[in-house]
């Protein structure tokens, strides 16, 4: 499996991406990664006991353009378990673009078919640095503009790159 290093201002995580079971989601994630999209984005939605979501906004809650969308692969059998990576999306089933989230607990209600007949596609898992996830989930959050659950101090993704 492809491994990537997610470097944040809270530390580094290593995630394994499951290109066997989630080929399209992994390809999409790597395409955004290779384009440098994730550099200087933030975890903008942090809900302890649920998940942390990021990869779509710059500090200051400025949304980054992310036009390419990917087919929903939630049917692949991977579960929304602790420390897994899954694609965020709008209510439209195939609307995932760059934003992803890391599950903090067993969110089985997000697994296919979910509550909307589609669910949320898991495509990877944090295998090193889970303590960084645990640190991020505990940060103090506030409201910002259109958003609830925004960290009061930016949690920044400095880079995402392939592990050597």
């Amino acid at each position: 499996m492809t491994k990537v290093i997610i470097t944040t201002n809270k530390g580094k995580m290593v995630a394994e991406l499951n290109e066997q079971l989630a080929p399209k989601s992994v390809e999409n994630f790597l395409a955004y990664m290779n384009a440098g999209h994730y550099t200087n984005t933030i975890f903008h939605r942090v809900i302890d006991g649920f998940m942390i979501q990021g990869g779509g906004f710059e500090p200051g809650m400025k949304q980054k353009p992310a036009d390419a969308t990917v087919e929903n692969e939630a049917k692949n059998g991977l579960k929304n378990e602790p420390y897994t990576l899954a694609m965020a999306r709008t209510s439209a089933p195939h609307s995932a673009s760059a934003q992803f989230f890391i599950n903090i607990k067993n969110n089985s209600f997000l697994d296919y078919p979910g509550q909307d007949g589609w669910g949320y596609a898991v495509f990877g898992k944090v295998v090193e640095g889970t303590e960084v996830v645990d640190e991020i989930r505990k940060v103090k959050t506030t409201r910002s503009g259109m958003f609830a659950d925004v960290p009061a101090e930016d949690v920044i993704i400095e880079s995402i790159e392939l592990a050597a």
Partner: protein
Amino acid sequence: MSNTLTGARASDASALFISDLHLQAAQPAITAAFHDFLDRHARRAPQLYLLGDLFEYWAGDDDLIDPFNREIITALRRVSDAGTAIYWIAGNRDFLVGADFAAAAGVTLLPEVFVTEIGGQRLVLVHGDAQCTEDINYMQFRAMVRQPAWQQQFVAMPLAQRKAIIAGMRENSRKDQDAKTMEIMDVTPQAIADLFAQTGTNIMIHGHTHRPALHLAGATRRYVLPDWEPDATPPRGGWIAIDGAGVITRHGLDGAVIADSL
């Protein structure tokens, strides 16, 4: 437009929902954003729902002659004449809107609570103030001012006197909101659960609280509309859209879709 996603363009929408613009002559940026929204998005939608507090205040339908009010009504009327059905649920600021306003603006006044079906989804629409049940003082005030007898007595006063009374209320409300805890000013979970149960729905759209969000609880989805403040950093405002397939999306002022459905 960034993040234009499948099935989520406003031009594909069956219905758009806004609330809490608090339109007033003293806030030209909000008014400009509202006109922009009407021209670029609402005109293309078959239905537009105004879920309360479109106006900062409404003193009575004899205030239709006010130049600012006339500007807003003319803008709504243009959209209505172009084929968009516009529906109105009163807020706690503009509940004195009546039949004359509705006729002038081309708007249909809806009763609150309103249950409808759009894109195959059954949903319940309210402004949201009646669900802030822990705010005892406000609930008492609301019960009083929503009585027809009180309203008849109030609108019988000269317009200038009504405006002076409203100005005083707004001043008190500002002071109150500083003193009350955030928790009291939000809706209460029990009132929301009751409303879902009473209406047999599991999707709700409301405004009022100025806490835009999507709340998932069990099988229910509660969408909260934003208030509008385009000059804030980051800007506040936007709408909710339902497309023909019943997909519900939250949009920022620039139209970008918010990816927080989970």
